[in-house]
């Protein structure tokens, strides 16, 4: 099936070409009347390798302080690449403005890390490293070249461990932790960084239903407690719709739809960009539930 990108099919859908159009403000965000964007992307484009095709094309987005934006889209749509561009981990065209409107050069990792924390989809777990050590590494951006972690850094790490119920695991090796615990540990490291913006790449992809929801609830609590801005790439549309204030749908590197979950999670939009028919139901509290439909008739099972 050939994927053809056509003009918008929905009011909230924007074409990648119009950055201004993409900056529609959230309609029913709990962080009502956002005063300033915590992070703003302007015509961001990412390519891997010289002359390669762009995997993110011309994406412009503003994310308000305290908001949770979920990046959704089919595999290979550019969600992770866009996050990595926002985290300054891949070279990109266009501009990324961080909290307080600062723009940071590609090499000033330290200044950026004080403003933006990034959690990889599959974090590296060094053998022999303890949970406490791993979380303490989150203080890197606050330390000068020749300085070791001081008492204040260790206290900050201990507080976060305590807050995430991880204190008893401090001396445990990372490799001995379960998936759900590990995701909390990785979050703890990001929190110790004390950045305003939290970028999460598929935070629940390795977790079962219960642990996945647990982690997202935790992220939401922390967001409210600490006035964090969250941008997450998410696979699961149901969770994205339930937790995020706004959704941004990427397709072949372009921002194709953008708005509240209610506006984006519709049958025409999803069927079209995921290239499979879906049915969108609404649960009692009004959140969308996306049900994929079969494209072929189920084969009849024969019992002989």
């Amino acid at each position: 099936m050939s994927a053809v990108i056509r003009p918008p099919v929905h009011g909230a859908v924007t074409s990648g070409a119009g950055p201004a159009a993409a900056r529609s403000l959230p309609a029913e965000s709990p962080a009502a009347a956002p005063t300033r964007p915590a992070l703003s992307l302007d015509r961001v484009e990412v390519r891997y390798g010289r002359g390669g095709p762009p995997v993110v094309r011309n994406v412009s987005l503003d994310v308000a302080a305290g908001e949770w934006l979920a990046l959704i889209g089919p595999n290979g749509a550019g969600k992770s690449s866009l996050l990595r561009a926002a985290a300054g981990l891949v070279a990109h065209a266009g501009t990324v403005s961080l909290p307080q409107g600062t723009q940071i050069g590609p090499c000033d990792h330290r200044a950026r890390a004080r403003l933006v924390a990034y959690v990889a989809q599959q974090p590296v777990l060094p053998p022999g490293m303890t949970v406490a050590e791993y979380v303490l590494l989150g203080r890197t951006a606050h330390l000068g070249w020749l300085r070791a972690e001081g008492r204040a850094d260790r206290r900050a790490a201990a507080e976060v461990l305590d807050r995430l119920d991880l204190a008893r695991f401090g001396t445990r090796h990372l490799t001995a932790m379960s998936g759900g615990e590990l995701q909390r540990v990785v979050l703890a490291r990001a929190l110790v960084q004390e950045a305003e913006v939290l970028l999460l790449d598929e935070p629940t992809s390795a977790l079962d239903l219960g642990h996945g929801i647990g982690v997202l609830e935790l992220v939401d609590e922390l967001r409210r407690d600490r006035a964090l801005t969250v941008i997450s790439a998410m696979h699961d549309l149901g969770s994205a719709g339930r937790f995020a204030d706004r959704l941004a749908l990427l397709h072949q590197g372009e921002l194709v739809a953008h708005g509240t979950p209610h506006e984006v999670l519709t049958e025409p939009i999803l069927s079209r960009y995921y290239q499979t028919p879906v049915e969108v139901l609404h649960s009692a509290d009004g959140t969308a539930v996306v049900v994929p439909l079969r494209t072929t008739r189920p084969p009849r099972t024969r019992i002989e």
């Binding site: 200044a111 924390a117 022999g128 979380v135 590494l137 951006a141 001396t171 445990r172």
Partner: protein
């Protein structure tokens, strides 16, 4: 270490008094995990440091005392004090014994210690920088590159020196850096797996060694000196080689130890290290240059001594812990002890003949390497 202060009532307080890595070895039982581990994180336990220092001092004492002429251990310190003209010092050693002590034994032991510290520290640094437990100056083509550089200078009679600035050392350094950069480039081209880097290192090392062998064969007279050097040797008289090597060990060692925290951040990989605020490329470059200079200086003085850079850091990781703030300083000390003891074996095993020290370290190191390869499969994969 401020061990978990609030010891649990029922829990053994034992784990608080042991180094981090030792206490947990393979999964500590739930009930013992007291304290949040933050206070002890990345800390070098004084007991581990004291034990390593003790081993190093003992190795120094032994290698000075033992030999065809025995020098009583108890006489060494007074003799040194006397030599330094400390007030109240008095030695009972004969003048002949003093010559043996100060012109032969002590310089050789100190040189062995410096070479061992340099090789072990550079090995530990490469392992950290490349995130590869099997990286080693010998396996990465560093030593072979240094060897080729030194061979060209020695064979071409280009030796000249001004203090620690020496043409052999300079050529060895250029060769070492070329070797490691070639291995890194080749390894990256072949994929990002640890095995790729290692295989690239082996290929680079074989090639450089082949060039070196060809040069030596072509003009065997001019290169006679090179031959003994290839096998590794610590034959020295007087303090010349020590004076040559010591500044490199001091400066490069200081640079590497100053970056030990950054090396712990690099354990997370480049992308995550950058997201935490580190510039991985810059840290890596500084560390590779320092480690290569260290290895090259050692190779220029002592020839090709293998496996020190892999045995010692791994022993430290097995016994004490995996943080680079533990591994780097203890590897330097342990490397010094290891090579002094290996040299003791080289001098005494076939006395009065001498076994090349590279043979001793390979004899100990190769089986150990196999052991690490075997047990470390999980960590490498």
């Amino acid at each position: 270490m401020t061990a978990p202060a609030a010891a649990a009532p029922g829990g053994g307080s034992l784990d608080g008094s042991l180094p981090e890595g030792l206490a947990e070895g393979d999964g500590m039982p739930e009930g013992l995990a007291e304290g949040d581990g933050i206070s002890g994180a990345f800390r070098l336990h004084p007991a581990a440091l004291a034990a390593t220092v003790a081993v190093t001092v003992a190795a120094l004492g032994l290698s000075v005392a033992v030999g065809p002429f025995r020098i009583p251990l108890s006489q060494i310190l007074p003799a040194v004090a006397d030599r330094l003209a400390l007030p109240g010092a008095h030695t009972t050693l004969t003048p002949q014994e003093q010559v043996i002590l100060f012109q032969w034994r002590l310089p050789r032991a100190v040189l062995g210690g410096l070479v061992g510290a340099a090789l072990a520290l550079s090995g530990a640094t490469y392992q950290g920088v490349f995130r590869n437990p099997l990286a080693d100056p010998y396996l990465l083509g560093v030593a072979a590159g240094a060897g080729l550089g030194a061979t060209i200078v020695i064979g071409g009679h280009l030796q000249a020196g001004w203090g620690p600035l020496d043409t052999v050392a300079a050529a060895a350094f250029v060769g070492a850096l070329a070797g490691v950069l070639l291995a890194a480039a080749l390894g990256r081209g072949a994929g990002s797996s640890p095995a790729a880097l290692l295989l690239a290192g082996v290929a680079v090392a074989s090639f450089l060694t082949a060039v070196q062998t060809y040069l030596v064969q072509r003009d065997s007279d001019g290169f006679r000196e090179v031959y003994t050097w290839i096998l590794g040797q610590l034959v020295t008289s007087g303090w010349g080689d020590v004076a040559l090597l010591a500044p490199y060990v001091a400066v490069c060692g200081a640079v590497i130890l100053a970056l030990r925290r950054q090396l712990d951040v690099l354990r997370l990989g480049d992308a995550e290290a950058a997201s935490l605020g580190l510039d991985p490329g810059r840290v890596r470059l500084v560390l590779i240059v320092a480690a290569s200079l260290l290895a090259a200086a050692a190779v220029a003085v002592s020839g090709l001594i293998s496996f020190v850079g892999i045995v010692v850091p791994h022993l430290v990781r097995l016994l004490v812990g995996s943080s680079n703030r533990v591994v780097l300083p203890l590897s330097a000390l342990g490397g010094a002890a290891f090579l002094m003891l290996a040299d003791l074996g080289a001098r005494t095993l076939a006395s009065p003949a001498e076994v090349p020290i590279g043979v001793i370290t390979a004899f100990v190191g190769a089986p150990f390497f196999a052991f690490v390869l075997w047990t470390g499969r999980r960590a490498i994969a």
